[in-house]
Structures are given as structure tokens and as C-alpha cells.
């Protein structure tokens, strides 16, 4: 190999790396899970908007749904000496040692969207999250209230097997439903949080439950799966929202579209604006040393066809879902 060729090769690589870095008053590193769903994409874009509003230099590291990548990202944020680190943990465990490093480096950490295991309580400043068990419970309570005393067979579309949100939303729903013996979860399968799988699984539920006649309601761990399930019901000649009740979680724009069409009944909102409050907390902490409460819970609003779904749709459709 000649030195010339090496130089040329290096120059090519250099071009790839030559992206400008910008400066701002506050630099915050955000270890985002990935972009596995529309909701996640919305959270990322809302975070960017909120950062721009406050003139914060936000460095987002996308972990492609892998914890190891998130840990790597936090380590490189520490190495860059950022002012604060936001973490949307992909899983609740396994953060102790890397968060200890952040603490040693005196960088405050704020959890977004999801909490971590209680053992790590003193390692972060605060957590801005919803309560996913509560979300499931809200969905369950709505269903119980809507159905009343009638016997009702519920089918459940679970999230990805092993995902803590899926487990929590299942747990919350099960607890709420358990209080009403007339409600029975007859089938439960994973739809991997995706539309395609949600549709496929719903198709098989319909076949297995007498062409859908035995199903009175569907509960999906997220709206995307429900959108797929609604299509499956329609193709089977069923009327979602009427023949079969639907309740799901997240409040993405498309579920409101379905509500407008009368094909969906209820959703539980998970706000994508977790970064906004977090920025304020960090700013207050940096300037005045205000120590925030350990948990800033976001609201889990229940939204139904009665809550002007068209307006909700219009307000959300530009957020990058």
C-alpha cells in the first residue's frame, strides 16, 4: 500500500466525519430508546421542539432498542461533560453502575417516560414518567364501566414479550378487570406493538372465537396494534366500535381518525412531552439548586369518541407520530 492511497482513503473517511458541532448555553444528552413506534418518534421530535424553545443544545443518541447502546451513550455523554443527561430507559434494570459514574461526574440524570428499578433511586434527579400500570387500569376501568353487568369476553393484544411496558399494561388491566367477574380475558397474544402483527393476531382471534361473535371487546397495549386489529375486524365483516368495543393506549393520531369514523371507542393518552418538564427541572436545579420531587407523573388522560377526536387528531398529526 502506498502512503498516497492511505491518505486518499483517510480523506474519504474524514469527509464522512466532517459534520459541524454547534454551541449553546446548556448542553443536554438524551439517550433515547430508538424509534420503534410512532409514539417514540413523536417524543423525539417534541423533545427537539422543546429544546429549541429553550435554546438548549440537545444531543440525542438513538440506541436502536438496545440497553448496551444506551449505556454506551451515557458513558460518552459523561466523557463529553454535558450539563445533564436525559434517559428513556429501555428496561428498568441495569443502570446502577453507569448512573454511579454520572453521579461521580456530578451530572444530573433525569429519567423520561419510564422508571428504573427502585434500587437506583438516589442515582437520578427525578423521573418524568407516566405510570404504565395505571394506564392499563384506566383502560380496564373504562371497559368495566362501559360494559356494565353484561358478560363480556375480552381479547388482548400484548406488546413485545419481555417489554416492561407490556407487562405493566397487562398487569394494570388485569387488576382492574379482576374486580368484575363478568369480564373475562379469553385470549391474549403478542402483537409486538406493530400494526401488521396486531392485524394478524386479531385475524386469528376472530377465527378462534367463532368468527368474532364471542368477542365483546379488544384491549391493545398500544394504538398501532389496535389500528391493525380494526382492519382485521372490518375485513371479517365485523363493526369495530359497535360489535366489538376497543380500548387501547398511547393516543396516536390514527386512533382518533378511527374514532371519528366510529371504529374505535377509547384510548389512554401517553403524552410525548416528557422533555419539556424535564428541561424546566434541570434549569431550576442548575440555576437555583432546586431539588425536584423524585417523580413527576404525567397525566394518563382517557380519551373517547366523546372528547372531540377530530380536534385531538389535528393537534397531534404534526408531531411526528
Amino acid at each position: 500500500m502506498t502512503p498516497k492511497a492511505l491518505f486518499a482513503a483517510s480523506a474519504t473517511v474524514a469527509l464522512l466525519f466532517a459534520l459541524p458541532a454547534n454551541a449553546a448555553e446548556l448542553t443536554i444528552g438524551f439517550s433515547q430508546i430508538g424509534s420503534e413506534s410512532g409514539w417514540r418518534a413523536a417524543e423525539t421530535s417534541v423533545s427537539k421542539q422543546e429544546a429549541a424553545k429553550r435554546k438548549v443544545n440537545l444531543k440525542i443518541a438513538d440506541a436502536q432498542q438496545k440497553q448496551e447502546n444506551q449505556i454506551k451513550a451515557i458513558r460518552s455523554f459523561i466523557a463529553q461533560n454535558v450539563d445533564a443527561i436525559f434517559l428513556a430507559p429501555v428496561v428498568s434494570t441495569g443502570w446502577d453502575s453507569v448512573l454511579k459514574e454520572a453521579k461521580e461526574a456530578k451530572i444530573p440524570v433525569v429519567l423520561l417516560d419510564r422508571d428504573i428499578d427502585p434500587s437506583g433511586k438516589e442515582l437520578y434527579l427525578t423521573a418524568v414518567t407516566s405510570d404504565s400500570v395505571h394506564e392499563g387500569a384506566v383502560a380496564g376501568d373504562w371497559l368495566a364501566k362501559t360494559v356494565g353487568d353484561k358478560a363480556c369476553n375480552v381479547v388482548e393484544l400484548q406488546g413485545t414479550v419481555g417489554a416492561s411496558v407490556a407487562a405493566n399494561r397487562k398487569k394494570g388491566f388485569d387488576t382492574a378487570v379482576a374486580k368484575h367477574p363478568n369480564l373475562k380475558v379469553v385470549r391474549s397474544q403478542t402483537g409486538d406493538f406493530t400494526r401488521a402483527k396486531g392485524k394478524e393476531v386479531m385475524e386469528s382471534f376472530i377465527k378462534a372465537e367463532g368468527g368474532g361473535k364471542n368477542i365483546c371487546a379488544v384491549y391493545a397495549h398500544n394504538d398501532d396494534m389496535m389500528v391493525g386489529a380494526i382492519q382485521a375486524m372490518k375485513e371479517a365483516g365485523l363493526k369495530p366500535g359497535k360489535d366489538i368495543l376497543t380500548v387501547s393506549i398511547d393516543a396516536v393520531p390514527d386512533i382518533f381518525k378511527a374514532m371519528v369514523a366510529g371504529e374505535a371507542n377509547a384510548t389512554v393518552e401517553l403524552t410525548p412531552n416528557m422533555a419539556g418538564p424535564a428541561f424546566d427541572v434541570v434549569a431550576a436545579f442548575k440555576e437555583k439548586g432546586t431539588v425536584p420531587p423524585k417523580w413527576i407523573q404525567t397525566e394518563s388522560r382517557l380519551l373517547t369518541a366523546a372528547d372531540n377526536p377530530q380536534k385531538e387528531y389535528d393537534s397531534k398529526k404534526g408531531l411526528g407520530y
Binding site: V161, T190, E200, G320
Partner: protein, 330 residues
């Protein structure tokens, strides 16, 4: 008797029958069929319909594997082409949408083929590049969101029916016939098998082996594009994050279950598609069974191993049964 049974493929057909029988046990209504809105409705149709993407992928993959290659990027190509189709669907007519999506698949295939045939990269690595980058490209097109559309033409592609059969199934069938006609009707099949069997010898016999290799990757890209369009049409939206995720493994599995060797050479389109159906029959069965989803992968692993062992040349007992059925001596 001998004439009626295919030369190969008995193991696959037997496997399919066994899995169908198991499905019937876990779900008594498995074979029920009825007409719903002019379209057949039932679990069997679900198997065909849901099996379509993998069947389409395996049509391209089997040719790639016949040349001793492998294409890990098909899932990502599905995502790219689905995203393109969905983005254009509401502003352009179906021909433009299809042309754009299939054209993108063709370009992806050309890229893979270029890396393998011209730059001489190992197929696994060469296609790994597009596997990683391709999903990013798809997300770039959709900007990470699920791009929905309402174009009735494209929706029909996913949910319509032709003569009672879902459109995707008809398309897959059409592609099988088309690929079969192109490959076996021209000399392509022979030249691909020769290239995969012995590339050096084929080159010296005047076969344009590079062109063969390039063309199979291109075809694989086109098949993946079609699968991507159908997947998008099915859910009336392009989900760049999840469309075709890990389907490359299912497609490779389908080809191998279909009896084509990963070391290239002889291939069978029909058996590859049959392999895809075996996988889907199993998946649908799992969904119908009502077992907790934690078991899904275990069942899949067990079935895959069982089907492979059935095919293993070393299992002489089974070979004996096969031979007796064919009326010849082992």
C-alpha cells in the same frame, strides 16, 4: 405412483400435512371456509395471505441461494419500498407507485449484486451493509412515523380479492408462475444452477456468471419490493421500523426447508414457497392455539429442527420410507 409424486419435496409435503393436522387439533375450525364480501374467509386463507410476504421473499432468495449467495437485506428493502409506496400512494396513480417501489427494489438489488458480483465481497457481509443502512433509509423516507394512505388502489392490493382469493395471494401465485416461467422457460435456471454448482467451470463454459449473480440479486430486490408494497398495503401504512423486520431469516429458512442447499446449485421455486407456507402454517397454528406467547419461539425452534432432521440425508430410516413410497430401493 412414481409419476404422480414429485421427484423431491415429499419431506416438505409430509411436514406441511403434519403441521396442518396439528393445527386442526389445536383449532377445530381450522379448515372452515366461508365466503365473506366476495372473498374466501378462514384460517387456511389467513395462512396463504400472511404467508405471502415470506413466500415472495423466498422466491427471490432461492435464486440468490442457488448461486451460493445469501441476501440479508430483504427485510430492509421491504421497508424501503413499502415506505416509498405509502408516501406516493395518495398523490400518484398505482402504476407510478408500483414503478417507484419496484424500481427502488431493483436499485437495492443492483447495489447488492454489484458488491457481490463486481467487488467480490462475501454475500453475507455485502448484504449486511444494506440490512443495516436500508432500514435507516426507510425511516428517512417516513421520518420515523407510520405513513398512512387511503388510496383505494393500493389498499386493494393488500385487502382486495380476485376470484375469492386475497389479492396478495394472487400476486404471490402470479409471481411464482412468472418466476417459474422466466427461470425455467428461459435458460436462466440452468445457468443459475451451473453458476451455483461450479462458478469457475461455468465461466469457462462461456456462462456470464457475473451477470447471473447480478440478476438474481436484482430479482431478489424486486421480490422484496413487492413484498414490501403488499405489507404496506395490508395495514394501509408504511411502518419503516417494523416492516419486514427479521423476515430475511424466515425467507432463508423457507428456502432451506424447501430443500435448496445453502451451498448453491439445484433449487426449487415451488418447494421454497412451500417452505414459506410451512412456516406460516406453524405461526398461524401458534396464534390459534391460545398458548401464552412465551412459547412461540420454542415451538418454532422445535418445528424447524424437526423439518430439517426429516430432510437430513443421514436419517436413513426416513429415506427408506421415502424410497418405498416412491417405489424404488434405497
Amino acid at each position: 405412483m412414481t409419476a404422480l409424486l414429485p421427484r423431491r419435496g415429499l419431506a416438505q409435503i409430509l411436514a406441511l400435512i403434519v403441521i396442518l393436522a396439528v393445527d386442526r387439533v389445536v383449532s377445530p375450525q381450522f379448515f372452515d371456509l366461508r365466503l365473506q364480501d366476495g372473498r374466501l374467509f378462514g384460517s387456511l386463507i389467513d395462512v396463504l395471505n400472511r404467508g405471502t410476504p415470506v413466500a415472495l421473499l423466498s422466491l427471490g432468495m432461492v435464486l440468490v441461494i442457488a448461486t451460493r449467495g445469501i441476501d440479508l437485506s430483504v427485510g430492509a428493502v421491504m421497508a424501503i419500498c413499502g415506505a416509498i409506496a405509502a408516501s406516493l400512494a395518495d398523490s400518484h396513480g398505482l402504476p407510478v407507485v408500483l414503478a417507484a417501489a419496484l424500481g427502488a427494489g431493483l436499485i437495492c438489488g443492483l447495489w447488492n449484486g454489484f458488491l457481490v458480483a463486481v467487488l467480490g465481497m462475501q454475500p453475507i457481509v455485502a448484504t449486511l451493509i444494506l440490512m443495516v443502512a436500508g432500514r435507516g433509509i426507510a425511516q428517512l423516507i417516513t421520518e420515523g412515523r407510520i405513513v398512512t394512505f387511503s388510496s383505494p388502489d393500493l389498499v386493494w392490493l393488500g385487502n382486495g380479492s380476485v376470484l375469492g382469493l386475497p389479492v396478495p395471494v394472487a400476486i404471490a401465485l402470479g409471481m411464482l408462475i412468472l418466476t417459474g416461467a422466466v427461470v425455467r422457460g428461459s435458460a436462466l435456471g440452468l445457468l443459475i444452477e451451473a453458476t451455483g454448482g461450479n462458478a469457475r467451470a461455468s465461466e469457462l463454459a462461456g456462462v456470464g456468471t457475473r451477470a447471473m449473480i447480478l440478476s438474481v440479486y436484482v430479482w431478489c430486490g424486486v421480490c422484496a419490493a413487492l413484498a414490501g408494497v403488499i405489507a404496506a398495503a395490508d395495514i394501509m401504512g408504511a411502518d419503516a421500523n417494523n416492516a419486514g423486520l427479521w423476515l430475511e431469516l424466515d425467507a432463508i429458512l423457507a428456502v432451506v426447508i424447501g430443500g435448496t442447499s445453502l451451498f448453491g446449485g439445484r433449487f426449487s421455486l415451488v418447494l421454497a414457497v412451500l417452505g414459506a407456507l410451512i412456516i406460516q402454517t406453524m405461526n398461524t397454528g401458534i396464534l390459534l392455539s391460545g398458548y401464552p406467547p412465551e412459547f412461540n419461539l420454542l415451538v418454532k425452534a422445535a418445528v424447524v429442527l424437526a423439518v430439517l432432521l426429516l430432510q437430513s440425508p443421514k436419517l436413513s430410516g426416513f429415506a427408506g420410507i421415502m424410497a418405498r413410497l416412491r417405489g424404488t430401493k434405497p
